[in-house]
Symmetry: C2
Subunit: 284 residues, 2 copies
């Protein structure tokens, strides 16, 4: 079977064109939309991602403040920065970059991000608004998976989707979004017994566990659609996904590439959220 | 196969004994724990349930204020009452009874319940704390399913659980709780294609869709464990579950009865939450 590549580049470009126009409109009547990117690590992969976010923001006319708190920042210091930015009327949007310093969980500090500025949807209130089907910012990676599938006209209603990974900011919110699209949803994870039999029963498999080669050809049914959310650093330094593409290609109906699949859509949606937050703030 | 009945009565009695002792301790140093039960309907099934909650509270030494707002109450009036009770230091706990007046969703008003008093875990913040694995009150029915299974020593880790129903206060939070117990979780619903094949693949099936005879013998695998969350009024006025017990019995390894299964545990957990809220308030 010819496996279609679910590129995210065209969708990301379309979203970015809209975001850029909206940012320009905002900048004619006041300051440009402003994102605070809070970093408390010295991880090279994080630095690479922060840099790519900064460049994306710049291209779209969004001002990006990078706030480096250092890899030994305390939970109090992180919360204090998030509280200050939440209260600061010049800041439209806040993103807290992971990883955080050892011993500090995202959930220990994320409630200090005001929901109106929480453009990656990580705070408990944002996650609860999602669980309640109420308006709020949705974690961008989860939203990107759904938008990528819709862009490629892959139906979700009544389809069985297996999500491999149960993180608070990808697997679990993705399950909520898929249920809202009327999909039947299975969430599998590291403790799942017989993962291949669970994922093979699904029409669509989303690999979001952060483990190289987690999903292979034997994990999927004939003509399944496979979405790869992973961004792992391979031993040779390349960024690779959670899907072993060689064994999946030829069996799957479609596969999203890494890089170039979910990734660019995620960044585009984050930037769209920044502009939406700024528009809401100007209106308020 | 002899199908074991998963009674909730013994577990409920054990929880209630503890709750009663804690309520008595609170009442020696101050007022008894106090629950506000806010009602905005004239539904007979709701009246029956409210009455049973009042009696349960009374037996355990919990003061219960029933606040009748009438079946034509506006969303503003409901929010105003919930806001007032959230601010009232004499009220430890708040429950909003459903159904609500036509056109008003639980999510339109539930954010007016302070999370510290939200003993049925219905507000967006409570649901988000659950999604983030943070402390908060969990919707009592979902918690009752997990506690009933644990009480009967049915393992969850690595088991595949199918939840039929995706409501914001039962199916979806139950999925979160089951994932935290390391179960593989499938959420199915009215739009699921081929429900019997989805549920037959599961070790444990939870019927929580509010439809009589939704789950029958042909929906379950051999030796499955079946939990019935339904409380439907049959044409003859009896309360029946979502499971067609006759065809499930003899095939399932275990089945929770209706009444006498999840129901009494749910009420017991709600009352335990009231006492916990009161203890937290006294400590604050």
């Amino acid at each position: 079977m010819d496996t279609v590549s679910l590129s995210g580049k065209e969708l990301a470009a379309a979203i970015n064109a809209d975001t850029k126009a909206r940012a320009a409109t905002l900048a004619t009547g006041g300051p440009a939309p402003r994102l605070a990117l809070v970093v408390a690590n010295d991880d090279p992969a994080s630095a690479w991602y922060v840099n790519s976010l900064r460049k994306a923001a710049e291209r779209l006319g969004i001002t990006c403040d990078t706030v480096e708190l250092g890899a030994d920042a305390s939970a109090e210091a992180i919360r204090a920065e998030l509280d200050a930015r939440s209260a600061d009327s010049a800041t439209d949007a806040i993103m807290l970059q992971t990883p955080l310093p050892a011993g500090i969980g995202l959930d220990d500090v994320s409630s200090s991000i005001a929901a109106t500025k929480d453009v990656d949807g990580v705070s408990p209130l944002s996650l609860g608004l999602l669980a309640s089907n109420l308006d709020g910012f949705v974690p961008a990676t989860s939203e990107a998976v759904v938008e990528l599938l819709k862009h490629h006209e892959i139906p979700l209603a009544g389809r069985h989707v297996a999500v491999v990974g149960r993180s608070n900011i990808v697997g679990k919110p993705l399950a909520q979004l898929l249920l809202a699209e009327n999909a039947t949803v299975t969430v599998a994870h590291s403790r799942t017994t017989d993962l291949p039999s669970v994922t093979s029963a699904a029409d669509i498999v989303v690999a979001a566990a952060g483990r190289i080669d987690l999903v292979t050809g034997k994990h999927i049914g004939e003509a399944a659609v496979v979405v790869d959310v992973g961004t792992n650093e391979a031993p040779d330094g390349k960024i690779v996904g959670d899907v072993e593409a060689d064994s999946v290609r030829g069996k799957a109906a479609a596969l999203s590439p890494v890089p170039g699949g979910v990734g660019p859509v995620t960044t585009a949606l984050l930037m769209r959220h920044v502009v939406t937050a700024a528009e809401n703030a100007r209106r308020a």
